[in-house]
């Protein structure tokens, strides 16, 4: 993990640690100079242990979420690094010839190059060793068990390899020497032996050019060979003879000095020597280890970013909780603060006292939060490991101390900032009013200059942001600008006599309507919009809904009382219970907003996940109308698939309706007319069968094309035309999370432009060009890069590229699984490895769903905020209303009635927050569908009501549990005692 929101982590950690230490030092010096204030602050901490526990619970959330996000990032990064080092072993740099397939493994060249290179770089202190090797995918069969592996990775290694690279060892750790192999002998990997069910001494047959070549298994290794886990090793000369390539290799591997990871640090120096040495040879060097480690770091950053972005909602709710908590602490101590002020305590002293207390909470809560986050991260890593286990991805828990430090510092600083602001706000109390606990008077509107200034500022900023949004095409600035203007105008109208209820209701309705308006109506359709819009939409919708609810609370409560007030015996309790939330708008509003915000995000995420999931209900949509995909070995390609199926005998050819053949190669391309770097892109060449059957549509088509079919037919029959994956063209509206860097990004237009301008891509070595005439829909999952015709691909690569990938569409009702098996059996000598697309899609969807659920669970942690808020409010209410409870008990309220009144009060806030969150979440998802269905046709709004009901029930029950204790405490208030302290 290297970056957080684009900022390098190392300096960020240092910077945050310094700022935090500075804050602590300043606070320590200040507390030493104001010992009395510090004493007051520190003695307030253990005053009410239950309340302190709730405060710590609320305050630790930010650090906990940060820590969990960072832990996940660290783990992903570390695990991918592990996988990279497992795959590559000691190999740091690979040199190969011109690639003729996507993996680039078949470009053969003279073995002598390895010896020459060894002469040039062998003595360099950065290089540990150089070795040539042969590496090819081959079909293998066990004649004894009749099991086959369509694409085993065959390695031809020699003595120089064994000298410089990892030793090949068996499960007992004993070394297997390649030079010890006799002719017709091979070592097999333990996974390959397991799949083929063979043991030492058994024979396996490798197929090349349709002929079997038997090898006796001389040893089974568990470690030491790079690449796939299913592999076999023969001496280099044997491999050369098997593939008919005497004195040729297709790979030179270089290992740098140092271990598998540290060696990569010498890559730049090694590459600097290699590049001039390889000039003119047609060979290219690739810093594979460094690239893999970079990918690992980027993946870690991307994962962490997703979780950090999603945590923002909970952190925002957490900030509100910190503020609310301190405002309530101040309310609780109003009388004593008033007395302290009367005795000569300055405003500054009060601020300091609260800040000291806040600092104590912040330091302790962030420490607990960071450690708990580590635990949560660990749990989530376990769940991720389960989600990805079927894809052979292994997650190993890892957390860097730096991540913990940064989570802790962020938690402390965020809390301190909010605490300092709250302290400043509460310090402005009126001494007499505070001492006598008299409510603050309403400021006369005519004299409310601050209100006027705020309204004017909001309007001015609103206009500024709106204009900035228009000029820079920024949807964010535009949407926020108009929102500010709406609030500003309503505040101004209030200042000039519009009643509060009307002014705030209008502001609330305005905000909600504005953010729910489809982009085509709001005018933001053609502006750039990203993930931050989701965050802002959440905040603004919740703000609007809270304005509306709080200022019309009496109507809501009347409705509640009308419905439930008729219940015998509930009337008095209900009347008391619902009157308190109405009387304290700030507290109710804050708790309402917290609940609403968290539930809103959970509902939106749930609906979007379920709706996206609807895409997977028809796998053909994702595969372009095909049911089975298969690959054959490059060494034994199928010349004519239709004929091969007829001949195979294991499949009823009538079951197969269409076959598409695809050749594939990785080429270095860039957009013509730009001077950007050439990037490696997979290019697929399709045949007529594919073009005639594929059902993929396009987001953009070039001028002159009016249907998808026209594009496919033109591409198949006219030379030099291509279509690209949707990831090749940027879009203004991009709600995707994290950075999924495309192979190539075409410049000068965006997907929203609809008509594709004339745009070409060119190949580095040959200078050949392809004109892009279509940008595929996002659901074209089986086209990762560029697609052209096979003839165009051959011409671009200046050599014929044999098709090795096939797509099959089967007759409706035919059994895909048995056809897939039949294909593998019938074409075993061609190394046919086939997959039922529906199964593959289901597996991918399953993993995706688990990941989504994990993210949902992570966001659900934010509920702690809302729940803690209700707990803090209820605990405070017990203290605050002690005398009132005494009076109620005196006039005849039973204990249960007092308890019930408290529970109803909390339930009212929780249920209203939950309901608003569900409503807003549903409404926003509905509005987002507009954009989603445009990008991914077939997606439909699916509302997972059961899941939403579950989320709501968990949130409500948890809130009841937190309020239960204070409510019980309230019911135990002894009337005589409560009334004694007048």
């Amino acid at each position: 993990m290297n970056k957080l929101f684009g900022l390098p982590l190392a300096p960020l950690t240092g910077g945050l640690a310094i700022v935090m230490c500075l804050c602590v030092v300043v606070l320590t010096i200040s507390s030493l100079r104001n010992r009395v204030m510090f004493k007051l602050a520190s003695r307030n901490v253990p005053r009410r242990p239950a309340q302190t526990a709730l405060i710590l619970l609320g305050l630790m959330l930010a650090a906990m979420l940060f820590s969990a996000s960072f832990t996940i990032g660290d783990t992903v990064s570390y695990s991918i690094r592990n996988m990279a080092t497992d795959q590559l072993g000691q190999i740091d740099v690979m040199i190969h010839g011109q690639a003729v397939d996507a993996a680039g493994s078949q470009g053969y060249f003279d073995q002598q190059y390895a010896a020459d290179l060894s002469q040039i770089i062998g003595d360099d202190s950065n290089v540990e060793g150089v070795a040539a090797a042969m590496n090819a995918g081959m079909p293998v069969i066990s004649p004894t068990t009749e099991l086959n592996e369509p694409n085993i990775e065959l390695w031809g290694l020699d003595e120089s390899w064994e000298r410089h690279f990892d030793p090949i060892v068996d499960s007992r750790g004993e070394r297997l020497i390649v030079a010890d192999l006799q002719a017709g002998q091979a070592y097999l990997s333990s996974r390959a032996a397991e799949h083929l069910e063979v043991r030492m001494g058994d024979t396996v047959s490798v197929f090349t050019d349709g002929q079997p070549f038997p090898f006796a298994v001389a040893g089974i290794y568990s470690d030491g060979v790079p690449g796939d886990e299913i592999s076999m090793v023969v001496p280099l000369a044997e491999a050369q003879s098997l593939l008919g390539r005497p004195e040729q290799v297709n790979l030179i591997a270089i290992t740098n000095t140092g271990n598998a990871i540290h060696g990569a640090t010498h890559t730049d120096e090694v590459m600097a020597i290699l590049e001039p040495a390889l000039e003119g040879t047609g060979l290219t060097a690739e810093a594979v280890k460094q690239e893999a480690l970079d990918v690992a770091t980027e993946a870690g950053d991307a994962f962490m970013s997703v979780f950090v972005i999603m945590a923002q909602f909970s952190v925002a709710a957490g900030v509100l909780l910190i503020f609310l908590t301190f405002v309530m602490l101040a309310a609780e101590r109003k009388t004593e603060l008033g007395t302290a002020r009367a005795l000569g305590t300055q405003h500054g002293h009060v601020i300091r006292m609260f800040t000291y207390e806040g600092a104590i909470y912040a330091l302790a809560a962030s420490a607990i939060g960071s450690i708990l986050g580590l635990g949560i991260g660990w749990g989530m890593v376990r769940l991720m490991a389960a989600a990805f286990s079927q894809f052979d991805v292994q997650f190993s828990f890892h957390s860097r101390p730096g991540s913990l430090i940064i989570a802790y510092c962020l938690g402390v600083l965020l809390t301190l900032a909010v605490v300092a602001f709250s302290a400043w706000r509460v310090s402005k109390l009126n001494i007499i009013r505070a001492m006598k606990d008299i409510p603050e008077p309403q400021i006369s509107r005519a004299r409310d200059w601050k209100g006027l200034a705020l309204a004017v500022l909001a309007i001015a900023l609103g206009v500024l942001f709106t204009c900035a949004g228009f000029s820079s095409d920024s949807g964010t600035a535009y949407m926020v600008g108009v929102s500010l203007a709406i609030v500003g105008v309503c505040l101004l109208a209030r200042r000039f006599g519009l009643p509060d209820r009307l002014a705030f209701s209008l502001a609330g309705i305005g905000l909600v309507a504005w953010w729910l308006l489809p982009p085509s109506l709001s005018g933001a359709r053609d502006m750039t919009r990203g993930m931050e819009m989701f965050f802002l939409a959440g905040i603004m919708l919740v703000l609007g809904a809270t304005f509306l609810a709080i200022h019309n609370m009496d109507l809501i409560l009347k409705a509640v009382a009308l419905v439930f007030g008729r219940v015998r015996g509930l009337s008095a309790v209900l009347k008391t219970a619902i009157s308190y939330p109405m009387a304290n708008r700030f507290r109710t509003g804050a708790a309402l907003a917290m609940f609403c915000l968290v539930i809103f995000t959970l509902v939106v995420m749930s609906i979007i996940n379920s709706s996206e999931n609807s895409l997977y209900s028809d796998p053909r949509r994702l595969s372009g109308g095909f049911d089975i995909s298969g690959t054959t070995s490059y060494v034994n390609p199928v010349a004519d698939m239709n004929a091969a199926i007829q001949d195979a005998g294991s499949i009823d050819s009538d079951d197969i309706e269409a076959v598409g053949a695809i050749s594939i190669i990785a080429l270095k391309l860039r957009q013509t007319g730009t001077d950007t770097e050439y990037l490696t892109v997979p290019v697929q060449g399709i045949d007529d069968g594919y073009a005639n059957s594929v059902s993929y549509g396009f987001n953009m088509m070039a001028e002159g094309y009016s249907s998808a079919d026209e594009v496919w037919q033109a591409m198949a029959h006219q030379p030099g035309l291509a279509v690209v994956s949707s990831s090749f063209v940027a879009r203004k509206v991009n709600y995707s999370l994290g950075s999924s860097a495309p192979y190539l990004l075409l410049d000068g237009f965006m997907q929203e432009d609809k008509v594709l301008p004339v745009v070409y891509v060119e190949e580095e070595a040959t200078g050949g060009r392809l004109r892009v005439i279509g940008v595929l829909k996002d659901i074209a999952a089986y086209v990762p890069g560029i697609m052209t015709s096979q003839a165009s691909l051959d011409s671009l690569a200046r050599q014929p590229i044999v098709p090795t990938t096939y797509m099959f569409r089967i007759k409706d009702g035919a059994d895909a699984k048995s056809i897939s098996k039949g294909l593998e059996t019938g074409l075993v000598q061609n190394g046919m490895d086939s997959v039922v697309i529906a199964e593959e899609v289901r597996d991918i969807n399953k993993a995706g769903m688990m990941l989504n659920n994990l993210l949902l669970g992570f966001m659900g942690l934010g509920l702690i905020v809302g729940i803690a808020a209700l707990g803090v409010i209820a605990a405070r209410a017990v203290v605050e209303r002690r005398k009132q409870i005494g009076a109620l008990r005196a006039i005849g309220f039973q204990r249960e009635a007092v308890q019930l009144a408290f529970l109803i009060e909390s339930s009212f806030v929780a249920l209203l927050g939950i309901s608003l969150g569900v409503l807003l979440g549903y409404a926003l998802s509905f509005s987002l569908m507009d954009t989603m269905s445009e990008q991914a046709p077939g997606v439909s709004l699916v509302v997972p009501w059961t899941r939403i009901a579950f989320i709501a029930a968990v949130a409500y029950l948890a809130s009841l549990i937190t309020t239960f204790l204070p409510a019980r405490q309230a019911s135990r208030v002894y009337p005589a005692e409560a009334l004694r302290y007048e």
Partner: protein, 252 residues
């Protein structure tokens, strides 16, 4: 449904001697862990139905404790308290609460109105507790407010009223369910002289009209002067018992 012990003999006793409150040898000790404070040291007392009694004495003499023990707000350590023929010391906490809701009214020094409810809602609360229908409760609350001279103020919040008005709301709340006994703990303690006189006038009028028993704890000699009987307390014991100017030495 709660059932109180309506002992035939004791009900008869009330009828014969007219005593609605009988207190025998009541002791109350506050145990704070470190210190034990003997607030009541064996109080014997009888109060007749319809009497207005003022309990007076210096701070800490046990006046409020006595009121709390008699009204069932607090437990006693020893002795007997019989209210309207019911041994309230033998009642469960739940029964005592229900008994209070039906038979007692309370007036506190600082009014103890619920600030979040309006005047009418505050007054009707004891009725709603007794499962009176909301409509009837509101009618009775308005009637009670009329009695205390607060008609037209029913929709105001307590914070919008003066101290005297707030205490009158508390009186209306105490009387709305027509309780047999009204307890007042310093009912005029937070009021100026003029308002205090006005409040006492209202209490006296209601006492005369409705025949309810009033037991008022007070420091104010004016309140004492308005009462039928003044009981002076000192150190947890009744020091003197004065009837309409006649001082009766306390029986210990």
């Amino acid at each position: 449904m709660l059932h109180y012990r309506h002992d035939g003999g004791e009900q008869e006793m009330v009828r014969q001697n007219g005593h609605i409150i009988e207190v025998k040898g009541v002791h109350k000790t506050y145990d704070t862990g470190a210190v034990k404070v003997q607030a009541l040291r064996g109080v014997d007392l009888s109060i007749k139905k319809g009497e207005m009694v003022a309990i007076m004495g210096p701070s800490g003499c046990g006046k409020t404790t006595l009121l709390n023990c008699l009204s069932g707000l607090d437990d006693i350590n020893q002795g007997e308290v019989i209210v309207d023929g019911n041994h309230i010391t033998q009642m469960s906490e739940r029964q005592r609460t229900h008994f209070r809701a039906q038979s007692m009214g309370f007036i506190f020094q600082s009014f103890n109105l619920l600030p979040v409810l309006n005047v009418a809602e505050n007054v009707e609360l004891p009725l709603l507790l007794s499962d009176v229908s909301p409509k009837v409760a509101r009618q009775k609350a308005l009637g009670a407010l009329f009695m205390v001279g607060l008609s037209g103020q029913e929709n105001k919040r307590p914070s919008e009223l003066s101290g005297g008005q707030q205490q009158r709301v508390a009186i209306a709340r105490a009387l709305v369910n027509e309780p047999a006994i009204v307890w007042g703990d310093e009912p005029t303690g937070n009021l100026d002289t003029e308002t205090a006189t006005e409040v006492m006038r209202v209490l006296r009028k209601l006492n005369k009209e409705k025949g309810q028993t009033f037991v008022l704890v007070t420091h104010s000699p004016d309140v004492g002067a308005d009462a039928d009987r003044i009981i002076h307390m000192r150190d947890g014991l009744i020091a003197s018992d004065q009837h309409n100017g006649t001082t009766v030495p306390a029986a210990h």
